[in-house]
Symmetry: C2
């Protein structure tokens, strides 16, 4: 347990808003990576940075093919890293793709990707979690509003807000097929959640979040203050977003599926300790304790 | 029963696509109402017409106040015209508002509204159905893809495609709060649905549609061919759309509710007969058999 917990959560009966005063969003500087000063300023201000085209068409086609291969990989049948939709039993997520797939292992180490992560976090980095999400058409379920950091802090023992996520679109993101919504600027406020973490919470929370859920009053307050930005763009576009962004996505009744690659980078200076609000850490594929520097 | 059923549905085990060859979308002409030639041409082509500002701010405020009054009207407790959300029990729809409310009775007769309905349908008109929808934030449920006409034909006995709906926004419609989606041009294809209509189908179908649901292959085909248009706009904006548009809306996890007034006008020359695919007609508040001309 860390000597002082800057972000107490799941420890009280009332929700609280805690301002982020000690952790910057951008720890590095321009000139030390692929992102421009303007992009870094925007990231500090909004908590996210959009990249119009991260992958070239041929790379994108390879990434899409690799997603298809993983989603239909029979050797992963019964593997807990494969999560299915409750209603249809279709694959919703495959975790640990930077270990399961040589292709994604190399992609994660691509300078356009790991270089930007190092630049934002101002240090060497490792992969805290990776996954591909395949949100089917005709009823893909919503992801309710949440801060990833709240879960990583409470259940994985991530001490500080010094992690960043990459979401790379593998299918076109329309306004109407459940694309990512973020409240710009919400990353500067930590919503301390009520309630205790149930044993093995992750087993149900990946299908439908039930603990670590921000209260409606806080979500409404942040939405009224910051508004909602919804991300659309072709396959191959990407978003970097801070670990504490308040984000979510609606369900998808359209026939158009939504798939993306999701990689969380953490600073090696922010390695996990004991969970702040859970009896034991989540499995390796959800919150890695192997903080080997990415080379 | 009509001598010849142009739009057979719920009578076979395979879905079919039937082209609309005998019923125009616009039956009237420019000069005989508030819509321009350009608007009528667009309506014929796309199946819908957007109106940037149908109500003046003061009228809008009155309409919003009247919605609030209806949603909280204790004298309607237990009235089957009031439909609630399954999960939260919040009011989702109040039907028959042109009878329940003097305000909406007058609004329906406003020349900007009934005049446009007469112009599109090329005849005198009456109200087939009216309602206010109040889709709460934080989990308002989706409306799956459907054609209204399919239900009105099968369950109410509406013979032909000579009806038009007005959806008037009473709150702002964003891309992300479950706003209406239509496939432009889909009104020219009738998706004949499989299965029989259960007894008293309307009692469950208003909360969640289970019969008269177009098959996924047809929905996919129409979406690939026509694309999806999503409607956004401030409170006071409106959409006229044809009875046979393929439409739906996603759920809404945001804190921003979505309310609208919905009025269906039918031509007096298209008055209801016996249902085409149900043992008895739905109640008066869903499919009116009082085709008194609106004055």
């Amino acid at each position: 347990m860390s000597p002082r917990d800057l972000y107490p959560t799941r420890d009280a009966t009332e929700a609280r808003l805690i301002y982020r005063t000690e952790d910057p969003t951008v720890w590095g500087s321009p000139g030390y990576g692929p992102l421009t000063a303007e992009q870094l300023d925007g990231h500090e201000r909004d908590g996210f940075t959009s990249i119009e085209q991260l992958l070239e068409p041929a790379e994108l086609a390879d990434a899409q093919a690799e997603l298809e291969r993983l989603v239909h990989d029979d050797t992963l049948e019964g593997d807990e890293r494969v999560v299915r939709e409750r209603a249809s039993n279709e694959v919703r997520s495959v975790f640990d793709v930077h270990r399961l797939s040589k292709f994604f292992a190399e992609l994660v180490r691509d300078e356009r990707i790991v270089g930007a992560a190092r630049q934002i976090l101002g240090s060497e980095v490792y992969v805290h979690q990776s996954r591909v999400n395949s949100k089917p058409g005709f009823g893909g379920a919503p992801f309710e509003w949440h801060s990833d950091f709240e879960t990583w802090h409470a259940e994985d023992g991530m001490p500080r807000m010094r992690a960043v996520s990459l979401s790379l679109a593998l299918t076109e993101n329309f306004h109407f097929n459940g694309s990512l919504m973020i409240m710009p600027g919400s990353h500067r406020t930590f919503v301390s959640c009520v309630g205790e973490t149930p044993e093995d919470n992750y087993k149900s929370s990946l299908k439908q979040q039930e603990a670590g859920v921000p209260d409606q009053m806080s979500v409404r307050l942040l939405a009224d203050r910051h508004g909602i930005h919804q991300f659309t763009g072709p396959a191959g576009s990407a978003i970097w977003f801070d670990s504490n962004c308040m984000h979510g996505s609606n369900g998808n009744i359209t026939p158009f599926p939504r798939s993306n690659l999701f990689i969380v980078f953490n600073s090696v200076d922010n390695a996990l300790v004991e969970p702040y609000a859970a009896s034991s850490p989540r499995p390796e594929y959800l919150g890695s304790r192997d903080w080997e520097v990415l080379r």
